[in-house]
């Protein structure tokens, strides 16, 4: 009998690692299921209130989660925000995935931090809940540049020019943005605005169009549209405006340049009767048309995903605008949702874009795999041209 016990114990000891691995593997499978899934992720949440609850709900919904009861949930988030935000995340089999308390900052920022951890634990990809955006806020025939949290909270006016101001582009890694202003002369200029000191200086003010500034991912160069040749063409300069080089030269009008994440290529719009997307080396050379099979109309406003895989753009037919995606190397394009001027978040999953809504414009967030959309409702007024802080 003793011998049998010893043998049983020995066998179970031998088996334990295998049993554990099996359990871990199940959990891994469950997690993997949501890492690259087009399905909404069912989660239940309890214990939070007020701002923390509101922020968690918004953040998780933006990232493809759907709130359900405990029975239907694949994941269960419990916690509280009595004093500080605390959260515990388990899968449906009560395996603990996360248990963390947050200190410092506001309840809002603590809730964003918890949401990011939940998103990372389940989708194996960092969320963009702590992202910031710059955008244009229209007011009659004028507009100003604002910066805000990605959900529209903490919005601050960067300009108060009572003039037309547009097309913000963030300098990666710096508290600095470039945008187009008509304030000084009534003609367009590109300005560089330091958000810390509030000082700004003229970046480009050539004859004709000065538009569409786009800072390279390494922050060292700027692509832009200049009209000084009498035609809207793509140019590249250093971040201080020096070493200006014209990249394109053809009869078509160019607009909306954006950079590949490795900084080697620029994607832009060329319009010779119908607008299409083109790519060109950032050093110059021959432009190549980006194949966008299956999507018609005028194709404008491309933006390259940070992982380099996809390009989002707007297709326009008549008064209808659609946010689309296509592999960065070209191929079959897909219409995602109605909207325009889309920009990839750092997770290469969330897109911020503009929706026309009863004579006004509203910023919206799109979860690409699940195609779920949430408006950034905390901003009042007609908002457009969103860009992410990078």
């Amino acid at each position: 009998m003793k011998n049998i016990l010893i043998v049983a114990t020995f066998i179970s000891l031998l088996l334990t690692p295998f049993l554990q691995r099996t359990s871990a593997q199940t959990r891994e499978l469950e997690l993997n299921k949501y890492a690259n899934s087009n399905e909404a992720i069912p989660i239940s949440m309890s214990g939070f209130s007020g701002t923390a609850q509101e922020v968690l709900k918004f953040d998780l919904e933006v990232h493809g989660f759907v709130f359900v009861g405990n029975d239907a949930a694949s994941f269960i988030l419990t916690g509280n925000n009595n004093g500080q935000v605390e959260g515990r995340l388990t899968d449906k089999n009560k395996n603990s995935l996360l248990a963390r308390a947050y200190t410092g900052g506001s309840a809002r920022s603590q809730a964003h931090a918890l949401a990011n951890d939940v998103i990372l634990a389940i989708t194996a990809r960092k969320g963009i809940t702590q992202g910031k955006i710059a955008f244009r806020l229209g007011k009659g025939q004028t507009s100003e540049i604002y910066v805000a949290d990605y959900d529209g909270a903490n919005a601050v006016a960067v300009t108060q020019d009572n003039s037309l101001t547009a097309a913000p582009s963030w300098v990666p890694g710096e508290r600095k943005i470039l945008y187009v202003s008509y304030k000084a002369t009534g003609l367009s200029q590109i300005l560089a605005h330091d958000l810390t000191s509030g000082t700004r200086k003229k970046f480009a003010s050539y004859g004709g169009l000065n538009a569409g500034p786009a800072v390279s991912p390494d922050g060292r160069r700027v692509a832009m549209i200049l009209g000084k040749s009498g035609n809207a063409e793509v140019y590249v300069s250093n971040i201080d405006g020096s070493n200006l080089k014209q990249l394109t030269n053809s009869r078509e009008s160019k607009s909306s340049p954006c950079w590949s994440p490795d900084g080697r290529e620029i994607c832009y719009v060329s319009d010779g009767g119908r607008a299409n997307l083109y790519k060109i080396s950032a050093e110059g050379g021959s432009p190549r048309r980006l194949q966008t099979t299956g999507v018609g109309g005028n194709l404008t406003e491309p933006d390259w995903s940070p992982d380099g895989k996809m390009i989002t753009f707007t297709s326009q037919t008549g008064k209808y605008f659609n946010v689309c995606v296509v592999p960065a190397s070209g191929g079959n394009a897909t219409v995602l949702v109605e909207g325009e001027d889309s920009a990839w978040g750092a997770n290469s999953r969330t897109i911020i874009f503009t929706r026309r809504k009863s004579g006004s414009r509203v910023l919206s967030l799109l979860d690409v795999p699940t195609k779920r959309v949430k408006d950034v409702t905390r901003i009042s007024g007609s908002s457009s041209q969103p860009c992410w802080a990078k």
Partner: protein, 198 residues
């Protein structure tokens, strides 16, 4: 040998003096030669002259695009912009088009005639669009419209360096509303007179 050097020296001095006098007196009227046009005899020229030569320069049309470069806009900084002078000459465009329609051409002739007979003052052309286009696209379309009007005026004989352009895309509609009656008023090019510097 010495005499030659002295003569040369005197001659050089004379040239410099004339040059200095000429520089002091700024000519009141500069005759602009539209680039790309032929400099030389026009129609009815005396026979025996060959066709004149074209003078390539800063404002010569680009070989590939045919477009005429724009002057640096610094020259119009701080000068008064008169919006009413050519108000009646606002040119309207078809949807998604930058072509000058035949029924709009007389407005351009009026503007061109003014600038050809008045050497003082410059012109700013504003290009505008209706809201049916993305904001980035419309900015470029407004630029195309302004440049189409500019090129038309240059072809009528207005100097290219006197004409500046700006595009507002769809940001400054002339009429509110989301129907064709508003849209048709918004697809336009406006002429703003830049008064001479005080």
């Amino acid at each position: 040998m010495k005499r030659t050097t002295l003569l040369n020296f005197l001659f050089l001095g004379l040239v410099l003096m004339i040059g200095a006098t000429a520089c002091k007196k700024k000519p009141a009227i500069i005759t602009h030669i539209p680039q790309g046009s032929r400099v030389g005899p026009g129609t009815g020229a005396t026979s025996g002259f060959e066709q004149g030569v074209s003078v390539p320069g800063e404002f010569a049309p680009d070989a590939t695009t045919g477009r005429i470069p724009l002057a640096n806009p610094e020259g119009i900084d701080g000068r008064n912009q008169n919006r009413s002078m050519f108000e009646a000459n606002t040119v309207y465009f078809d949807l998604d088009s930058a072509s000058v329609k035949s029924n709009e051409q007389s407005k351009l002739e009026t503007v061109a005639n003014y600038f050809k007979s008045n050497p003082a003052g410059d012109l700013l052309i504003e290009g505008h669009c209706d809201e049916r286009g993305t904001e980035g696209y419309n900015l470029t379309l407004g630029d195309r419209r302004a440049n189409a009007l500019r090129e038309y005026l240059v072809n009528l004989g207005v100097s290219p360096e006197r004409i500046h352009v700006v595009s507002f895309g769809e940001a400054k509609p002339a009429a509110d509303g989301a129907d064709e009656s508003a849209y048709s008023k918004n697809r336009r090019g406006e002429f703003i007179f830049i008064e001479p510097a005080q």
